[in-house]
């Protein structure tokens, strides 16, 4: 059963469909939350919250607007961002040092397509200029505002804005644009 079928069952009130989506994406959600929060217990909380949100919001999911996997990981990101910021207000020092490297406990045995895309994405990230990669990672995984990054790195805000923008542009050229061209060549466009 594909993801859209599971989402349809979920929207119809079938709780068992949550298990199917958890089995497919629970490890990715947990990995992202672990990376962002650097705290296993908080990552569990986020993972729980994400799949409850998936359950609650399933009727609003529109497969025409994107893949279920993208939607679930976006929910994971926004849930983790909110928690990172709440916790940072309470204990700023906990979030000062973010690892630049992927989690060493990462399990490479994900779904084949995700694993391949993940490897491509990691390679693309490593091809960015180091200062751009650092700015993108601090903004995305660290959930830091550009002002906070400027203060942390002791550089002008305008420099941070440029690094984030150039980093995202470069990632797009390395990852998204080739996929779009390929999809166009096969006569199918990405829904998002």
């Amino acid at each position: 059963m594909d993801d859209n079928a599971l989402m349809s069952r979920l929207a119809a009130g079938d709780q068992a469909a949550v298990a199917g989506l958890y089995d497919r994406y629970g490890r990715q959600v947990y990995a992202l939350a672990s990376r962002m929060l650097q705290d296993a217990s908080a990552a569990e909380d986020v993972t729980q919250e994400v799949f409850v949100k998936v359950w609650r919001n399933a009727p609003r999911f529109d497969p025409e607007r994107g893949r279920a996997a993208t939607w679930i990981l976006h929910l994971a990101y926004t849930t983790a961002v909110d928690l990172v910021r709440t916790r940072r207000k309470a204990a700023p020092s906990r979030f000062d040092d973010l690892s630049d490297e992927p989690d060493p406990t990462a399990d490479p045995a994900g779904a084949a397509e995700s694993a391949l895309l993940g490897a491509q994405a990691r390679a693309a990230l490593m091809r960015l200029a180091p200062e751009q990669r650092q700015a993108v990672e601090m903004a995305y995984f660290g959930a830091m505002t550009q002002q906070e990054i400027a203060q942390k790195l002791d550089i002008p805000l305008g420099t941070v804005k440029s690094r984030v923008r150039l980093g995202l542009d470069a990632l797009r050229q390395l990852l998204v644009a080739p996929r779009r061209k390929e999809a166009d060549a096969h006569g199918r466009l990405s829904p998002r």
């Binding site: 009130g13 296993a40 990552a43 909380d45 990462a106 993940g118």
Partner: protein
């Protein structure tokens, strides 16, 4: 298509870095600006790939069951709300107190005195843990004091700024160790959102973190409700 001077704001919007007022204003702007919509789509497509760079990490084995239990509880709560038939919390809490071996479930009246008495009776509080509200309980705070004795563990909790409970619901403290949750007591709150509980557990109750959930009743052995506070 003419470039919009606000197009660079799409990055801040995508990264959720705008203050809420500006975020709403930019969302309204998106409705009328094709350039910003296209830019936002470009950025979002790129950002959507970043989670994949992290790979996958195996969650703790109990997490799947907890997720499914919470969804089941949500589904049941939805159905229950429709029926508008909820059990009284104190009857349920009394049953739980017996079932979990909880020493005492503290009423709201005299809570401060009981907690002060607890601290006097147990001068060597070994752990004092602060807790902070999640997005479900912004502004809520709690303090948990833990004392390990030769015969067991005494836990006291005092919470403030908690959202009101519906009839039959209860807050529940969880001790989290290696991904496993163990109840640390249930409590309700008064109209000001203040409440607490003093608990005795008959062993040395170690934990890595604490959580407080809002439960559909006071009978749960595992979390079914949403997380309201986390330890910091």
């Amino acid at each position: 298509m003419a470039a919009c001077p606000r197009v660079d704001e799409a990055i801040l919007y995508s990264l959720r870095q705008m203050p809420s007022g500006e975020e709403q204003a930019f969302a309204a702007h998106l409705d009328t600006c094709l350039a910003c919509r296209l830019k936002l789509q470009e950025i979002q497509e790129t950002l959507d790939i970043l989670p994949l760079t992290v790979g996958t990490v195996e969650p703790p084995p109990g997490l799947r069951d907890q997720v499914l239990a919470r969804v089941a509880a949500e589904a049941a709560a939805g159905a229950q709300q429709k029926r508008r038939r909820l059990p009284p919390v104190w009857a349920a809490a009394a049953v739980l107190a017996l079932g979990l071996g909880i020493y005492s479930l503290v009423g709201l009246q005299g809570l401060q005195e009981r907690l002060a008495g607890f601290q006097q009776a147990v001068p060597h509080v070994e752990r004092s843990v602060g807790m902070l509200g999640t997005e479900n309980a912004p502004g809520a705070v709690a303090r948990v004091l833990v004392a390990y004795e030769s015969t067991g563990t005494r836990i006291s909790l005092q919470a403030q700024g908690m959202p009101p409970l519906e009839s039959g619901q209860a807050y529940q403290l969880w001790l989290i160790k290696d991904g496993q949750r163990r109840s640390g007591g249930v409590f309700v709150v008064d109209a000001s959102g203040t409440g607490g509980v003093a608990t005795w557990l008959p062993d040395r109750a170690e934990f890595d973190a604490l959580g407080i959930t809002r439960e559909p009743d006071a009978l749960g052995q595992q979390p079914r409700g949403i997380k309201m506070l986390s330890s910091i």
